[in-house]
Symmetry: C2
Subunit: 388 residues, 2 copies
């Protein structure tokens, strides 16, 4: 049931004609309260799309009553005109949702966009689509919303994490451009827990840092990455900050796994586990360096347990370890011990989709896991043909 | 004539049976003096091959009388046994070259290796090959040496830069794993200029920083990168430090261009020129971020002037600029002005092999150029099948 699993939320997804395919491309998530606290995490790219700049302003007040999302266009690198489009979009949503005592302003509405960079959105279609989405808002509208934010995703991605008497629901999109800082995507989490803005923010940042931030499909960071967490308080239950973190983490972990399993052109889902690091940051840095090595990724595509490329990539990381102390296992075969060849590499079975790379740095006690994909002909094909 | 163009050098290249192809795989360059000053620049990878560790020690004394190089095996990640192999190689070369009053020690001999990581070298073959190389040493042996260091290179790469009465000769290998810190490779430069070790070192470091360091074919850094500069003093002429730098720079610039034009599977040679940066370091950082974006590189492969991916990659760089001030031209068409779409992208002709990306950051007056390649099916194919 996605973002509409928790109480207090309605959602919709409609086809507004923004996507040339004619598929659903406008999603709306509305928080009916009683609370409207919210937190957000955004791309750290210096080149931010208009909806990111807008939503960052909205989040400063810590209140979000609705999120409108469109696929079919990123509204990035579109200048002041693009920003005005975003503003107008938020105003339109606010006006359409204003009813009786419930008066909304544009500043209550977060906006997310995804698609090609550098083109203005067809505003007539978008605003007409918003009208339809408002009409279609429903307590079971979560799956439709999740479908409307897809771009090159092959399937909609939703999740539910259950607390005691309250829950977290979520949807995510993203299949390429998964990267540092944030795996590219739009992600909306909802909860009917009672939580103030600071508690939401702390939980969201901590959980993102250990989930979506550790996914690195192709090393590229988007202009539009946005992760939002909205709380309605409709359950009447106030979990402890730890309880809230746990469920937010569970939801993001599940959504992150779904992203990796659906990455563009990938034939492998690779879990790079770095252990015995001097610090958690070292473990992350080493894992990311391996995850970003095109030579490692092409070797994986070729079912080649090339541990030399793993060591070589690890050696570029700014981390505290000695090459002669490093052990590497691929799918449980220790093909490298003490920085040298060990078990016979022909014993490694890489025929399946799941790959587990275990790197023991022999430098401490900390650990971290980074998720990535292989680099395949499918990736090259899909990304060399995306916009032309 | 490669490394034997300057006076005072002999070289050879022979087939020792290390490469399974049976092609030439052992090269020897000998400095007959009268001087034997030298400088070296090495990979900054934490995982360094045995020959790199060895040659770094040799260079500490600033004297190199011979360089022995092998393809067919990197001797990286081979532990203390691998290091002993390198030591023994240097000893063998020194013994074979000792004649009459010319007594060489292992510490006079730099060693370079390239090929697959993680396997010990076949020492019998290597030492027998060295014997043959010593017998074949000749004043015109430069081209044969350049051929013997090739791995996936499709052609030998040599250069000559002419001073007044003295010259710089050079050879380089490297076709994949071109990257930061150093584009992977083995590179030997020779000169018959008179120059002390400090002057050589200064010239080599400055010239490398502006040439080979600015080549980034696939973002991967090798365990074996080595660039050596040997001076015989045989011309009797002592150029100024500036004159020496100019010719070393010219030689490395030419060799670097040859690397890019021969990169694995590449269909494009891409010159990323960043101008109007707040600092030269900013220009380099932005150029490198674009050069490493797989989304940009696949777009280039698809002949797609996707400036959104250029801006998006530039925005991940830690550099001082504002997105709204950035202009981008691809092959002289200004498809992005002020961070937005400008000239019609269909005007961009990407049918040729040479691509010029010009990024104006509008943030200052500094400039830098990074060279890279596209990401093609050929790259994926070649690197997923390299060792299996």
């Amino acid at each position: 049931m996605s973002v509409t699993h928790p109480k207090g939320f309605r959602a919709a997804g409609v086809a507004a004609g923004i996507k040339s395919s004619g598929g659903p491309d406008v999603a709306l998530v509305v928080n009916d309260g009683p609370d409207a606290t919210a937190a957000g995490v955004f791309t750290t790219n210096k080149v931010k799309a208009a909806p990111v700049l807008w939503s960052q302003q909205v989040l400063r007040a810590g209140i979000v009553r609705a999120v409108v999302l469109n696929s079919g266009g990123a509204n990035a690198c579109t200048g002041s005109g693009g920003f005005q489009d975003t503003h107008r979009t938020a105003e339109h949503v606010a006006a359409k949702l204003t009813k009786g005592r419930s008066v909304l302003g544009a500043a209550d509405v977060a906006v997310c966009s995804t698609g090609l960079i550098g083109e203005r959105l067809p505003m007539d279609k978008l605003l007409t689509g918003i009208n339809a989405a408002v009409r279609n808002l429903a307590r079971d509208g979560g799956p439709a919303a999740a479908e409307a934010i897809m771009t090159t995703d092959s399937r909609a991605k939703t999740t539910v994490a259950q607390g005691v008497g309250w829950s977290v629901g979520g949807m995510i999109k993203g299949a390429g451009m998964l990267a540092p800082g944030l795996a590219t995507m739009l992600c909306v989490l909802t909860t009917d827990a009672v939580a103030d803005q600071e508690t939401l923010d702390t939980a969201l940042r901590a959980a993102t840092a250990r989930t979506l931030d550790r996914i690195d499909s192709d090393g590229c960071m988007s202009t539009n990455d946005t992760v939002l967490l909205l709380a309605s308080g409709a359950s009447g239950i106030q979990p402890t900050p730890e309880e809230l973190y746990e469920q937010v983490h569970a939801a993001l972990d599940d959504l992150g796994r779904q992203l990796i399993s659906d990455a563009e052109g990938a034939t492998k889902e690779i879990r790079i586990e770095v252990r015995a690091a001097a610090s958690e940051a070292d473990a992350v840095t080493v894992g990311r360096a391996v995850a970003r090595s095109n030579l490692f990724k092409t070797a994986m595509f070729g079912n080649d347990p090339n541990w030399g490329r793993i060591l070589s990539a690890a050696g570029t990381a700014d981390a505290d370890f000695v090459a002669d102390n490093v052990d590497v296992a691929v799918n449980d075969v220790w093909i490298c011990k003490g920085g040298q060849a060990a078990d016979d590499r022909s014993k490694v079975d890489l025929s399946g989709r799941d790959v587990h790379v275990l790197i023991d740095l022999g430098a401490g006690e900390e650990t971290a896991t980074i998720w990535t994909n292989d680099l395949s002909h499918g990736y090259v094909h899909e990304n060399s043909a995306y916009s032309t």
